[in-house]
Subunit: 197 residues, 2 copies
């Protein structure tokens, strides 16, 4: 998740037929730790340490980022919305903190940390016993302006998917030179990368 | 995987520092069934049946495609390379076969089928006891022309990653209208889709 580009104006979510549903959101959030564990644990280092080039992340760094976000971003912001509303702007999120914090850990430790923190956060979310009315409560993002609780929760789930998307792309990148003429058929090799990183 | 666009000429894989390594390739292929199982099993239907619009696939259709490829594409082509070389062109791969084959199955049956077929295929691959010399053996693709065994095996792994990339993108698409101003920060929402579908 970038925290540097600010749109000029605040805008309301695009028209959509999808309504926010907390159970559907939690269904994704619940599955991410096991998905990443199945994908990454025990992989040879080409897949864990490989990047997409200078100033891009490896699988290891993505896991560090997810652990840091789990500790510092999502549930603290949920609590600020519920307790302070727009009166207290969220702390800016440091997207590079994990580069210092996780450097002495193994990938396996990061996978374990992420699974534990996510489990604790979902238990804490459940304990809040949110009602439909709560989902429209507003908070203030330091760059994006006014956001709602449902937007924050939907973003938590899509943030998981953004990093799964990035992981599959960066892993595929390691084999870019090995697939021969099939590269024309493999969509993931045409993905130029979207967020930084 | 598209099988319709043919480049005008056969070209050799781009220069790369990565050497093909069978164990590293198998490490990815081995993990895909559990990854998809952790991601998809038991998800609410918005995530399983949602698509990215007309003529695009749902998670259900992607799983059907992966099952069909596992049965009809990868190992049959490996055997053709080893037994016939360039003398026998691969069968064209029907990317839409699964739309008929899997329509009466559940997502859970497709996940089970995929895990079983992948396990059988990796056992069969292991039993071939491939040597370094075998990896440069050549086969003939109906659209792409001459390909090598190592290119076929690398493509098998990157094909898994292409569909993981597609899955994360199509799931995120379901929440496109719910994340509010955060959409600017979520890379997966900027991915326009690459292969068809």
């Amino acid at each position: 998740m970038l925290e540097s580009k600010a749109p000029d104006v605040h805008y309301v979510g695009m028209a959509s037929l999808t309504e926010f549903n907390l159970a559907e959101t939690v269904a994704v959030l619940t599955r991410t730790p096991a998905t990443l564990n199945a994908l990454l644990r025990g992989l040879p280092s080409i897949w864990v340490r490989g990047t997409e080039g200078e100033d891009t992340w490896s699988a290891f760094e993505i896991m560090g980022h997810l652990v840091f976000a789990e500790r510092s971003d999502w549930m603290p912001r949920v609590r600020i919305v519920l307790e302070n509303g727009e009166a207290r702007t969220f702390e800016p999120f440091d997207r590079f903190a994990q580069l210092k914090e996780s450097q002495d850990k193994s990938l396996e430790q990061l996978l374990d940390d992420f699974a534990r923190l996510r489990r604790e956060n979902l238990a804490a979310l459940h304990a809040l016993n949110l009602h439909q009315d709560d989902l429209t409560r507003r908070g203030k993002h330091p760059a994006l302006g006014v956001v709602t609780l449902s937007e924050l929760l939907a973003t938590w789930a899509v943030h998981d998917l953004t990093h799964l998307h990035q992981l599959s792309r960066l892993m595929a990148h390691q084999y870019r030179g090995l697939v021969g003429p099939w590269s024309a058929y493999l969509g993931v090799l045409q993905c130029a990368g979207h967020s930084a990183p």
